[in-house]
């Protein structure tokens, strides 16, 4: 459409100078809703993050680098991010299976199981951490099962993994479930009439359709896991260089009144999280195009 044609039609109140970034829209109210969105986002997200970065920059780039590269901080960042990624991947697999079961089968207690998926959302994380620690300790119900093989779960990095899987599960299930629900049964039937085995149908037809939702779920579970504090500190054992997570290190710094140091670690975490989420988003955009959800 030509610009002239648009201008004839556009409401008079649209300020001319906003047109360089504003695409023409028939929906009125851009000014007030955009203003509200930006203000709200600033108060809740942008300003606090800016203050965080400002606080950290008291140390200067050199200072932040020095804090971030101390062996103990590096180890903690490694523990935090690697275990978060691992937990998100485990959830991708088992969360999809849970969603699959909830969508495809009828069984007694299904509603109860469906509701239970949300428990990690609702439970205070400290409660979850204490419960998990008790269960997975070598003398706990589940920990005792592994004890004969000399596998210790609670108070090791494995314990952190269990806690992060616990809190991340609902994200994957709740993003995959509706997509699975909406998936056309006819598409699976078409695949079967064309001679595909059940496995081929799942791998070639169902999973590609789930990919974008699954990536969203994984991104959410990962983001949640990186920031998790409450449940992890109870089960991790918190041994420096082994099972100490970065958020705990931040709290330690705060308790020592080293606000700038805490902010420096936080800024580094912010940076890594941002890059990771950006990568997942790019992957998601690609898969949406690839799998025809555009």
């Amino acid at each position: 459409m030509s610009d002239a044609a648009h201008n004839d039609w556009a409401p008079r109140t649209t300020p001319r100078r906003t047109q360089w970034f504003l695409k023409p829209s028939a929906l009125p109210g851009f000014g007030i809703t955009f203003g509200f969105a930006v203000t709200y986002l600033s108060l809740i997200v942008l300003i606090p993050l800016a203050v965080l970065v400002a606080r950290a920059s008291e140390l200067g780039l050199d200072g932040i680098w020095q804090v971030a590269t101390t062996p103990r901080v590096l180890a903690a960042l490694q523990v935090s991010f690697f275990i978060s990624v691992a937990a998100a991947l485990v959830n991708a697999l088992f969360g999809t299976i849970v969603a699959w079961v909830l969508v495809h089968y009828e069984f007694p207690g299904k509603r109860l199981l469906d509701a239970a998926v949300d428990l990690p959302f609702a439970l205070p994380t400290a409660v979850a951490g204490i419960a998990l620690a008790a269960l997975y300790a070598t003398n706990g119900w589940i920990g005792a099962l592994f004890a004969p093989w000399d596998i210790k779960i609670a108070f090791t990095p494995l314990g952190i993994l269990v806690a992060l899987i616990f809190i991340g599960l609902p994200f994957v299930v709740r993003t995959v479930q509706p997509v699975l629900q909406d998936l056309d049964r006819e598409v699976e039937e078409a695949s079967a009439t064309l001679g595909a085995t059940r496995t081929q149908t799942v791998v070639r037809v169902v999973l590609p359709a789930l990919t974008p939702a699954l990536l969203t779920g994984v991104a959410l579970a990962f983001a949640r896991a990186v920031g998790e504090y409450g449940s992890v500190i109870f089960i991790a054992g918190n041994m420096p260089f082994v099972s100490e997570i970065a958020p705990l290190l931040i709290v330690t710094k705060l308790e020592e009144f080293d606000y700038a140091g805490a902010a420096a670690i936080a800024t580094v975490m912010l940076g890594i999280s941002f890059v990771t989420l950006l990568a997942i988003n790019a992957l998601q955009a690609f898969s949406r195009r690839r799998f025809g959800h555009a």
């Binding site: 056309d184 598409v187 078409a190 695949s191 079967a192 009439t193 064309l194 001679g195 085995t197 025809g292």
Partner: protein, 347 residues
């Protein structure tokens, strides 16, 4: 006579509700058979039973005199086309068509070059050459349905099953695709079953039509047989815009409301149902037995003019095609007679 598909005493019920009951049907090789009926008459369930997408509660299905009931969907080698296309959205058109070949076990899978050649041929056949790289979301409804058909043909099915293939398309596209489907069928010669609730579509397109009602087949026959010699009252009422009139038959005369019409009622006596289509009525010439009918309205339907007539108080109004140039107006009384008699004893 060879039989391509035979259903014997086929029954299917869902949670106690019968969708198909004790159904027998024979499909000849290479014929285009339409399954026509009101919604809920079991035609789609029957089609899905043939495909193996549902398993029968009783009875069996034979393909070429070989029991297919025990075969799974993937072993039946049917081409199924769904009303809403059911294309794979993440695959482009060429990949959609190649799907059935690519999922074959390595031993029977054609080589890549062969698959590409077959896909190109099929794209040509469904008049979509050059669109192989498009994704389904980038195609119109009619194009999508043609891709679905090409995908079904790619596996060289023993029988082609189409479930309301044009149901989601607009009238113009439907008509075009209907002719085109007939051409494809004449060229490829697949035994084809297609479900529709549109009788115009069924009667124009099919070699034979099976009329479904309440989970069973009322009549199977050519479009001419179905239209001219309906076997049951249901068929007479279902096809060809018929109006049902309660009448009384007495050998050599027919009582319609207060009127007596002298004509032979065949072997029907007593209370009966008369099915009247617009072409079954005509203006009577003087010596002919006639009923005085009051004109309620005159309407234009396509090239013809039709009069809506009241034969008697309390009877539903019937329609009659008027001869060209006839100056009937609302309120006139016309002498009309029955040209065709479709009479069934009341049950």
């Amino acid at each position: 006579m060879a039989i391509a598909i035979r259903a014997e005493g086929l029954a299917k019920s869902f949670n106690g509700t019968a969708a198909v009951r004790n159904l027998d049907l024979e499909v000849k090789p290479g014929e285009l058979l339409a399954l026509l009926g009101p919604s809920g008459s079991g035609k789609t369930t029957f089609l899905r039973l043939v495909a193996g997408l549902e398993s029968p509660t009783a009875g069996r299905i034979l393909f070429d005199n070989e029991d297919a009931t025990i075969l799974s969907v993937r072993d039946r080698r049917v081409g199924f086309v769904f009303q809403h296309y059911a294309l794979f959205r993440h695959l482009n058109v060429a990949e959609n068509i190649a799907y059935g070949l690519r999922v074959r076990p390595r031993a029977t899978r054609p080589a890549d070059a062969e698959i590409r050649r077959r896909v190109a041929d099929l794209l040509e056949l469904v008049q979509l050459a050059g669109l192989g790289k498009r994704f389904p979301t980038q195609l119109s409804g009619g194009q999508r349905q043609r891709v679905a058909l090409a995908r079904a043909l790619a596996v060289e099915p023993r029988v082609l099953l189409l479930d309301e293939p044009f149901g989601a398309l607009d009238a113009k596209v439907r008509r075009d695709l209907r002719r085109w489907l007939r051409e494809i069928h004449d060229r490829t010669g697949h035994t084809t079953l297609f479900v529709t609730h549109d009788q115009e579509e069924a009667l124009e397109l099919a070699d034979r039509v099976a009329i479904f009602n309440l989970g069973n087949v009322e009549q199977v026959g050519t479009p001419d047989e179905i239209l001219d010699h309906p076997a049951t009252a249901f068929v007479a009422g279902f096809v060809g815009e018929a109006v049902r009139l309660p009448v009384n038959a007495a050998g050599s005369s027919l009582q319609i409301g207060p009127h007596q019409l002298r004509l032979s009622c065949g072997n029907v006596t007593g209370p009966a149902e008369l099915f009247v289509r617009p072409r079954d009525l005509a203006l009577a010439n003087d010596p002919q037995p006639a009923i005085p009918a009051r004109v309620l309205a005159v309407r234009r339907t396509g090239p013809a003019r039709r009069a809506e007539l009241a034969l008697a108080d309390g009877l539903p109004p019937v329609e009659m095609e008027l001869p060209a140039g006839h100056a009937a107006r609302k309120g006139d009384i016309l002498p009309v007679t029955l040209v065709n008699l479709r009479l069934f004893a009341s049950r």
